[in-house]
Symmetry: C2
Subunit: 352 residues, 2 copies
């Protein structure tokens, strides 16, 4: 990133200006956008190195984790967040789900010609605030511009780097029969918040996205359990809780049996889902995690979750079973049992 000062241009008009093709052409005007907007908001010593990459230090004796996400959410602003804060939370969470401590983020922006600079400023400042709140700086970036009608305002791809101690092995292939399936809180808020904004629906009780960074919750959970007791961590984003659990069952070669009554859903989310014909099990979350934990550690992990602000409603929602079919099944509130399949049918596009 270029962070030099240009004495020759008028300052960016961050109130009334718009992105034009010049902002992506690699000249003085592009440098000005980086300088007066991005570098100022993300302000940190890595960006101030002023090169096309950042030089970073990492603690010795640890392994690295790298995760990346493209963010194309529509609308860009939604109750409880925006594409900027979401991009930080989403990638910090992907790193944290491997039991890693997130350290650094990169950000690449694809901007549509004509996009208002005032909105871009709001997004970048929200992203910077989320990054500071997480303690994970945006250390390098890139900006490109596409013609009007060839993009949709702003797309943001983020990549996160973290470190994980030698010997820690948390991943989707590690679930074992008998393990407890824990969920950190109520499901469906993010997807319903975005859809209601998109469809201009009003509900009596506002539904906010749960978008949040989960790395401190993960740290609390890992501190409460013996090393090796937390087998899987995953955030149920696109496809919702149902798809995430199916992914894990598939990877680990196990089944799962859930109790519907144990899965927390806010009443306003349940009502909105009924209205919209949606099942909260398939709705994206952006601030929740699933943990699959050795049975003897489950109560300690659950207790640690409940003392963290992002895990107050944590619950054990089921158990891992032996199942050659790798089915996720659920005991319903009515006492029946059904298979909880992968997401299929109508997709919910551009939810993240």
């Amino acid at each position: 990133m270029i962070t030099k000062k240009n004495g020759y241009l008028r300052p960016l008009d961050l109130k009334h200006g718009r992105i034009d093709m010049n902002h992506g052409a690699g000249g003085r005007v592009g440098a000005q956008l980086v300088d007066e907007l991005f570098a100022r908001a993300f302000n940190n010593p890595y960006l101030r190195q002023g090169n096309d990459g950042a030089l970073l230090s990492v603690p010795a004796g640890q392994r690295l984790v790298m995760a990346t996400d493209a963010h194309v959410i529509s609308p860009l602003f939604f109750p409880g967040g925006d594409i900027g804060s979401l991009a930080v939370h989403g990638t910090v969470n992907d790193v944290a789900m491997l039991g890693a401590t997130p350290l650094y983020l990169s950000a690449s922006f694809i901007l549509e010609e004509g996009f208002p600079l005032a909105q871009l400023k709001r997004i970048v400042e929200s992203m910077a605030a989320a990054s500071r709140a997480c303690g994970v700086p945006v250390v390098t970036g890139d900006t490109k511009v596409v013609e009007k009608g060839k993009g949709d305002g702003v797309f943001i791809s983020t990549t996160g780097l973290g470190v994980v101690p030698e010997g820690r092995d948390i991943g989707g292939a590690n679930a074992q029969p008998g393990d407890a399936v824990l969920l950190s809180g109520s499901i469906g808020e993010h997807g319903v918040a975005v859809l209601s904004q998109r469809e201009s629906l009003q509900f009596e009780t506002a539904i906010l996205s749960d978008s949040a960074a989960l790395h401190t919750l993960v740290a609390a959970m890992l501190a409460a359990a013996p090393e090796g007791a937390v087998h899987v961590l995953r955030d149920p984003t696109r496809g919702g809780l149902a798809t995430t659990l199916n992914e894990i069952a598939q990877q680990s070669g196990v089944g799962m049996l859930l109790q519907e009554a144990a899965i927390p859903v806010l009443p306003q989310v349940a009502a909105a889902c009924e209205l919209l014909g949606l099942d909260p099990l398939y709705i994206a979350n952006e601030g929740k995690l699933v943990a699959i934990v050795a049975p003897e550690a489950a109560s300690a992990v659950l207790a640690a979750m409940r003392t963290h602000p992002l895990g107050l409603r944590a619950a054990q929602i089921g158990q891992v079973s032996e199942d050659a079919n790798r089915f996720v099944q659920m005991t319903t509130a009515f006492g029946g049992r059904r298979v909880v399949d992968w997401l299929s049918g109508e997709p919910l596009p551009r939810i993240c």
Copy 2:
């Protein structure tokens, strides 16, 4: 990335199929796209970990370098490359320009609904081939889909990770008066190749993009010079050689004096530029580098460059000077002297 097998879907129709919104919705169909296209092409043990991030190892006692690029080039296929190979080369080069050894790449894809799977396959396979040729695997990724008319076929953001030994300090702020300015080869090919494809121009001699990974050239240069003698490395991409040298002059607080006659330009590129009213100094390159080197090491570095296939036409094109104005000046072929300014005026959009 999800790499599981799905027994329930027909295989992807990679000949006649198209991207639809389901491919981005996080269900079985999205998993199938990853499984049957991305994971198969990029095939490596990191992707096979099957989590939302990759667990990596890095050599001890080194620092990390992280660089990111958004790629929005249009057209997606051009003489000498495509968006897939370009995305690999561009990011490998950004890492290498800090004197680092590139180790890993992440890739995030933003696909437009309706995009032909056959073209996506070509791009992904080209990207995988470039990645293998560089020895830098794509270890994690993400795929999103946007509605028809909200994107432009394929955008790819790549992030690269590399390592640099303790004590090595190569960066844009390190140019010193008296240093030699070296260029690894002829300029302007990438931009002219893309523009000619875009405008359907035919030239007598085909002009191919110079898109290439420069990390082995950098390694050869660094091996030929005493540690500390290579002060700056940078690839003159967007904005061309002129803008890159101005960036470095600005960052280092120096001036430069170039010799126009020493800057290699292929005759067909010179002819095309004249026809198109362009100056090769401002045209993007994707396989060239500028090195700013202590004068006593210049001939050794230059000799090393000329023994590498990507540096056969390497030349010293000028010298760093003391200049409070930080001007880049050039002695023209006619013996005059002019200031070489930053890119301004008409941008060349979506060249990378």
